[in-house]
């Protein structure tokens, strides 16, 4: 068990129970005292908490590289090291060839520029709108399963079920594989951040699965993202297959627990605020603004940057090799930018939140995430306009890189 944190500005622990459950007062404390905090825990990192600092660092791609965007680097176990040493040459070559990360999120320009250009059109507002009807249908089917029971787990039975199936549909993958994805992605991004064995296993499973999918699409192209990527040309040449596998890996990993966390947080918030449920039901035109406000108040994602060469920020030296946690959620609660930041106001007029980041790495799937949030909230409130948390203290949260409820019993009149 880790030592409890006494001074958050100099020893924060983003994986502590206290931080995961209620990070908001901690951010206020850091923002007021020492806006860029530091810790030696989990490999060491710096953490800005003010909006302006996050904005500036995200824009400074020269000093703050995206080659490594995970909030914690876990040390390999002795077993993993041994396995790597005993790997066949063939395996080593394969790993070398596919060692491209998850572009464009893990790349800097110039690769980032074309990799991003490739990925944006399939996630444009217009393309994403094509998946709205099936997402609505999916939400209805999920609700059908528990509506008569008067009880459900808003995270497990609803929020977590939606993004894996929408992403599966976009990638042209059988929707029945959705539960398998969910396991892999949690293994990689959530449980795996502090468990290197599980993390490696999960990454390998996703990777092998995607290699297989790409081979299949080459033989039998369809109307899906993988086939689209295979048909694209960069400078007259087809996109290298390892790149396509990396991008598919990204789509799966980044499109699942991020969005389900947002949907889960929205359901959690609305469970406790009947006045907000009423507003959304009575003013259907409010939904877009409501989604933006919920994104601001419960931004799920903290990214990271890798310091490529010694630099300085606001007079504070940051040595090469440091990790900087991009705490976009804390920026979105900064009172310097947002009036009454801890109050959720669905009519908020000034809301330049950076839940999807800012600068060249703005989340490529933001339009998809918004659509899924909008549809899942609307469909839930249509069928379950009146509900509450079964036991607020029993709600469990995941956090660190992605924050959202993981177990959330709700009850409603059946």
């Amino acid at each position: 068990m880790a030592e409890p944190v006494k001074e958050w500005t100099a020893d924060y622990d983003i994986f502590s129970r206290e931080y995961i459950k209620d990070p908001f007062p901690i951010w206020d404390d850091i923002r007021g005292k020492c806006p860029v905090a530091h810790t030696d825990r989990w490999g060491g990192s710096f953490m800005p908490t003010r909006y302006e600092d996050l904005f500036n660092i995200a824009k400074d791609i020269e000093h703050f590289s995206s080659q490594n965007v995970l909030v914690a680097d876990v040390m390999p176990t002795p077993e993993q090291i041994e396995r790597e040493q005993n790997m066949t040459e063939e395996d080593q070559e394969l790993i070398q060839q596919y060692n491209v990360g998850a572009p464009p999120i893990t790349s800097d320009p110039p690769v980032h520029t074309w990799a991003r250009k490739l990925l944006l059109p399939p996630f444009s507002v217009t393309t994403v709108a094509k998946y709205e009807a099936e997402t609505r249908e999916l939400c209805k089917e999920l609700i059908d399963k528990f509506i008569d029971k008067g009880r459900a787990d808003g995270a497990v039975d609803y929020a977590q079920q939606i993004p894996p199936r929408v992403i599966a549909s976009i990638l042209g993958i059988n929707k029945d594989d959705a539960d398998t994805f969910t396991g892999w992605v949690r293994g990689f991004l959530e449980l795996g951040l502090t468990d290197p064995e599980l993390r490696e296993q999960s990454a390998r499973s996703i990777f092998e699965f995607m290699v297989g999918q790409v081979q299949q699409r080459k033989e039998q192209p369809g109307d899906d993202l993988i086939s689209y990527l295979l048909a694209q040309k960069v400078d007259g040449e087809p996109v290298p297959e390892p790149h396509i596998v990396g991008t598919c890996f990204l789509t799966l990993v980044a499109g699942i627990d991020t969005t389900w966390s947002s949907i889960g947080s929205a359901i959690w918030h609305l469970a406790q605020h009947p006045e907000h449920r009423k507003q959304i039901i009575e003013e259907p035109g409010l939904i877009d603004n409501a989604v933006e406000e919920l994104l601001r108040a419960y931004s799920p994602v903290t990214m990271a940057r890798y310091v490529a060469s010694d630099t300085e920020y606001a007079g504070c030296p940051i040595p090469e090799g440091s990790k900087v946690l991009m705490n976009f959620p804390a920026a979105n609660r900064d009172p310097r930018v947002f009036e009454n930041p801890d109050v959720v106001d669905l009519h908020r007029a000034k809301n330049p939140h950076i839940a999807f980041g800012v600068g060249i790495h703005r989340c490529a799937g933001s339009n998809l995430a918004r659509m899924e949030m909008k549809v899942s909230i609307q469909e839930w409130l249509k069928r379950i306009p009146d509900y509450r948390l079964e036991d607020p203290d029993a709600v469990t949260w995941a956090g660190g890189q992605v924050r959202g409820p993981r177990k959330m019993g709700v009850v409603f009149p059946s």
Binding site: L120, T126, D288, A349
Partner: protein
């Protein structure tokens, strides 16, 4: 008469789609999400100016501006 116009700095815009979502009649976006004002960007009414101001305040990249010029 002084005209007010809305502009989008294409160097700053990263395709968040916030302006397009709140004012689809004033902005358009391309397949990458990058926004430009529709037409010449002239804000013809108080209501338009207010809407443009809202887009300015919600753009995370600070890419939108309202400029004044001779008309």
């Amino acid at each position: 008469m002084r005209l007010k116009k809305v502009t989008v700095d294409s160097e700053k815009c990263q395709g968040h789609n916030r302006c397009y979502a709140m004012a689809p009649g004033m902005f358009k976006v391309d397949e990458y999400g990058y926004a430009t004002p529709r037409g010449d960007g002239v804000l013809a009414s108080e209501a338009d100016i207010e809407l443009a101001q809202r887009a300015v305040e919600n753009c995370p990249e600070r890419a939108i501006e309202i400029i004044e010029g001779e008309g």
